[in-house]
């Protein structure tokens, strides 16, 4: 164990700086604001700093390290040229308050992205401002709210979510001030139309749902669900977390949705970075466009007097505030760096984004098949069952290990820890909540057949493992099973200098 705060070099150690442009002995600071004690930051030379963070990186698992079948998170390969592009001065060294004639290049890319995202989701208008999926949800729900306010339907105070929904759905709607109505799913995880019919009414603002569902299953009755909600006067919201399954095959627009968010950090390969940054643009149908957060990028034919650049020989790109905008959800123009990376990713596929989704679904079904086949062959097929009994899944699938828990006391979390010992990241555990002892697998399109074959074998080896060994797992990792209860009961949220 090495601690950053144990580096206590001489004062001023670390990175050298040029001298100040004027003497700093008499800087004007109000006397009550003179800082008395500097922060207890460490003192490292550059070699020490580089080694510390390199050492930390060796204690972390990424997609580059190995297979990362984390369901719902779409852990696909991140093409490296995207990182190079995002550091070009034409994006990294740009200020969000620069005038339009200085940023025609960025605006043209934003315009291209707005158009592309709109086409892929069957939506009429797009904003790139929300910086994460959850913020996209919140933004769209705010647009619904203003839409109803304008129509004099402010009595619509309820948002319906299925019990299989991502936690952000109810959290985002609740933050916007809506009451949450949770409806149960059917046994097989699909939406229960009767339960939906029973709760819609004059007070329904919206339904939030993802399709394929969090069980990785396509909702065949999605159009009917949309009809029920629309007939009651509500809006349909598409959680884009699972969009990777359907590009070019269907779209939220075709299914009857009014608004959608995109997770650029899932579908469009902005790296997850240990938890962020992300980017969560939203698309809406035309009746909601006037409420989008502002501004959005528009273009018009170039006029005499416009300053020509290499990108706008035909078009002048400009910001425009939607007429009844909800305002801002981030102070600037969103996570532009993520949008640029995702643009580079889009350019790699173009219309073949459809092939990308087909391969994501191919890999998920293949892995599911291989696991089942291998488990049957090794006599452990009875230790789990399908989260949803269907012939085909979409980009991810769920398995329930309730039978195994019942039989030998080994649940999803033990299996997850066993997988860590095999050199894999574990699938998502205990989600969705409606599947007991759930594991959710999402291989993505960027894993080879060999990786999937090997994983299926190793996974079944874990299922065959001695329960006592699995209770002890992991044993090969940098630390062993971490005591999360201890962490919560003995809160140490920063380096305890006074323990020294």
């Amino acid at each position: 164990m090495s601690h950053l705060f144990e580096h206590k070099g001489a004062g001023g150690k670390g990175y050298s700086q040029p001298e100040s442009i004027m003497p700093t002995d008499n800087l004007q600071i109000p006397s009550s604001l003179v800082r008395k004690d500097l922060p207890k930051w460490p003192r490292l030379s550059e070699p020490e700093m580089v080694r510390h963070y390199t050492w930390l990186s060796t204690r972390n698992f990424g997609i580059d390290t190995g297979f990362y079948p984390l369901g719902s998170c779409t852990m696909k390969h991140n093409p490296r040229v995207n990182e190079v592009i995002a550091q070009l001065p034409g994006i990294a060294d740009l200020h969000p308050l620069q005038p339009e004639h200085q940023i025609q290049g960025t605006l043209s890319i934003f315009h291209e992205m707005q158009e592309m995202l709109g086409i892929c989701a069957g939506m009429d208008a797009v904003t790139l401002q929300p910086v994460a999926g959850a913020q996209g949800e919140f933004t769209a729900i705010r647009c619904f709210q203003e839409y109803f306010r304008k129509r004099g339907e402010s009595q619509r105070t309820k948002v319906i979510v299925p019990d299989s929904a991502h936690g952000t759905n109810p959290a985002s709607a609740s933050m916007a001030g809506f009451e949450i109505i949770e409806i149960p799913s059917q046994e097989d995880g699909r939406i229960d139309l009767n339960a939906l019919r029973a709760v819609v009414g004059d007070d329904t603002a919206a339904m939030m749902i993802t399709n394929p569902s969090t069980l990785g299953v396509f909702e065949p009755e999605i159009a009917e669900a949309a009809e029920i909600v629309h007939a009651a006067g509500g809006q349909m919201y598409y959680d884009g977390a699972n969009f990777n399954a359907i590009l070019g095959l269907t779209s939220p627009g075709i299914m009857g949705f009014d608004a959608v968010h995109y997770n650029l950090h899932k579908t469009f390969s902005q790296p997850h970075g240990g938890g962020g940054p992300g980017s969560g643009p939203i698309g809406v149908k035309s009746h909601l466009a006037e409420f989008l957060p502002g501004p959005v990028v528009k273009r018009r034919p170039i006029l005499a007097g416009d300053r020509m650049t290499s990108v706008n020989k035909e078009w002048w790109y400009h910001w425009q505030e939607p007429e009844n905008s909800i305002g801002k959800v981030q102070q600037w123009h969103g996570n532009s760096g993520a949008v640029i990376r995702s643009w580079a990713f889009y350019r790699r596929y173009g219309r073949d984004l459809k092939t990308m989704s087909q391969h994501a679904v191919l890999n998920a079904n293949y892995l599911r098949h291989k696991i089942m086949q291998e488990a049957e062959a090794k006599g452990v097929g009875h230790r789990f069952c399908d989260g949803a009994p269907v012939d085909v899944v979409k980009h991810e699938f769920t398995l329930s290990f309730a039978p195994m828990k019942e039989e030998i006391g080994i649940g999803a979390m033990d299996i997850a820890k066993g997988l860590l010992d095999k050199g894999y990241m574990a699938p998502t555990v205990y989600f969705p909540l409606i599947v007991p002892e759930c594991m959710m697998f999402e291989p993505t399109e960027t894993e080879s057949k060999e990786v999937l074959d090997e994983f299926a074998i190793k996974f079944v080896e874990v299922l065959q493992e001695d329960p006592d060994v699995l209770h002890e797992a992991p044993i090969t990792t940098k630390v062993r099973r971490v005591d999360e209860v201890y962490a919560a009961r003995n809160l140490v949220l920063s380096y305890p200098f006074d323990e020294e």
Partner: protein, 460 residues
């Protein structure tokens, strides 16, 4: 595309293994009525070489700040991020990892974020810091909703918060969006004509859930009066301060003058401006706000062998557990940018931070000295101390001045009529550690010329 899909050309083999014959079989569950038929109406795929060539051409059409002499800041200042930060951040173990839900294989990022929490906690002098929210504006908004959750029950001004009247409209708009769902009433705090907070009227805010002010404030003013705020508003009202983090190398940490929550835009530590995102929002608070705070937090723990280990903690506040009762909807945050911040802070050390703050402040002071020598312009808050930026009152419209400076190769600053419509002649000029003395000379010369040219027509 062909270089991204390992199983391209092997579809048949894989389908046959599953007893299927075509890719269409995989989508048989999508009803005909909702299928998209035909190709996506998009352009064709490009190779990596074509993409980077296009990127260089298109982004090359932008004017980067480094291409010009720049005085545009308004909360985001041009900085220098050490090369080692960019090199380390490309390590795939960091870059391509997800939220550390499996702590046994995520100790690197968990420890780095625990260290980040410590660096921030020390910087602002508060016990607790989370591992980032989206940016400075959402940090302020989340702090205010947090204050309502903590104080509303006992508040005499229920559901009420106060914010500085000087805040930029975009920041206010974010705060409005985040608070309107809870039915929160936003009132404003007045400022004196010299730009400092009006302490006489501040007692109006006592009994509300919280107040939000900034140090330096949006006009760049360092306000010594903020050290008296907490005694005026009292314990039942949260004192929330938005900071420029680098300034804290010289300026007292708000935790030491009564702040309950400190937020801020982290960008100056570790991140290029990147057209306004991704950045990272700093969020720190006292223990009293811990269980109502938004976002993820890392705790130190032990593993089954008793060795030190780190994991996410207090997750029961968060959306994936608490769902609609969560303290915030935030899930994805800005971890990687916060990591860049931690790396930059580690390299700076305490004295490096102090020196960086001095360089920023010196640039601002030198500029104030030079510009105050121009007879045709005024510096309205000249008697105050400034950090990074100050207001120049011109003899004509700031928009005209900026247009003139643009023709001279300068990005001249920010037209404050965008924030305060009645202030047509206010130009906000910004200076940072990257500002050169010669650039200040250049600005002074051009402003003198322009101001003299419009002065005869000035109407008071």
């Amino acid at each position: 595309m062909v270089d991204q899909l390992p199983n391209l050309g092997r579809e048949k083999e894989m389908l046959e293994a599953m007893g299927m014959s075509s890719m269409d079989d995989l989508f048989a569950d999508i009803p005909e009525a909702v299928r998209m038929n035909g190709e996506l109406p998009l352009r064709g795929p490009q190779s990596e070489e074509e993409i980077i060539a296009d990127a260089r051409r298109i982004l090359g059409a932008n004017v980067a700040l480094g291409d010009r002499v720049n005085f545009l800041g308004a909360g985001l200042n041009r900085n220098y991020v050490p090369a080692s930060v960019f090199q380390l951040i490309t390590r795939g173990e960091f870059l391509t990892s997800y939220t550390p839900y499996q702590p046994e294989v995520s100790q690197g990022m968990l420890q780095a974020m625990w260290e980040f929490q410590t660096l921030i906690s020390e910087l602002v002098s508060l016990k607790v810091a989370n591992l980032s929210v989206y940016d400075g504006s959402t940090a302020a908004a989340e702090a205010l909703t947090c204050a309502v959750r903590v104080h509303n029950r006992k508040a005499t001004q229920k559901d009420t918060i106060y914010i500085s009247e000087l805040l930029p409209p975009a920041r206010i708009s974010v705060i409005e969006n985040y608070t309107q769902g809870g039915g929160v009433v936003i009132k404003t705090l007045r400022h004196n004509s010299d730009g400092t907070l009006n302490l006489e009227s501040l007692s109006e805010a006592a009994g509300s859930c919280g107040i939000y002010v900034e140090q330096p404030n949006p006009l760049g003013i360092l306000d010594g009066g903020l050290t008296r705020v907490k005694e005026i508003i009292g314990d039942g009202t949260a004192f929330i301060v938005g900071v420029s983090p680098v300034s804290l190398g010289l300026i007292e940490a708000p935790g030491n003058y009564g702040a309950d929550i400190v937020v801020g835009e982290g960008q100056a530590l570790g991140s290029p401006i990147t057209y306004g995102g991704p950045l990272y929002g700093i969020f720190a608070c006292t223990n009293a706000y811990l269980r109502q705070m938004p976002g993820r937090i890392v705790g130190r723990s032990i593993d089954v062998d008793g060795q030190e280990a780190f994991c996410l903690t207090l997750s029961t506040r968060e959306q994936h557990i608490r769902r609609h009762r969560a303290t915030s909807n935030i899930c994805t945050n800005e971890t990687l940018i916060a990591l860049m911040g931690a790396m930059h802070m580690s390299l700076l050390g305490p004295e490096g931070l102090q020196k960086l703050a001095q360089r920023n402040m010196a640039a601002c002071e030198l500029a104030k000295k030079k510009l105050s020598e121009i007879p045709t312009i005024a510096i309205p808050h000249v008697m105050n101390c400034h950090y990074n930026e100050f207001v120049v009152e011109l003899p004509g419209a700031a928009s005209d001045c900026i247009a003139y400076l643009d023709t001279q190769g300068l990005i001249g600053g920010y037209d404050l009529s965008n924030w305060y419509p009645e202030r047509r002649n206010w130009l906000l000029v910004s200076f940072s550690d990257q500002t050169k003395a010669a650039e200040i000379e250049l600005l002074t010369a051009h402003l003198a010329v322009w101001s003299a040219s419009v002065s005869p027509g000035v109407s008071a």
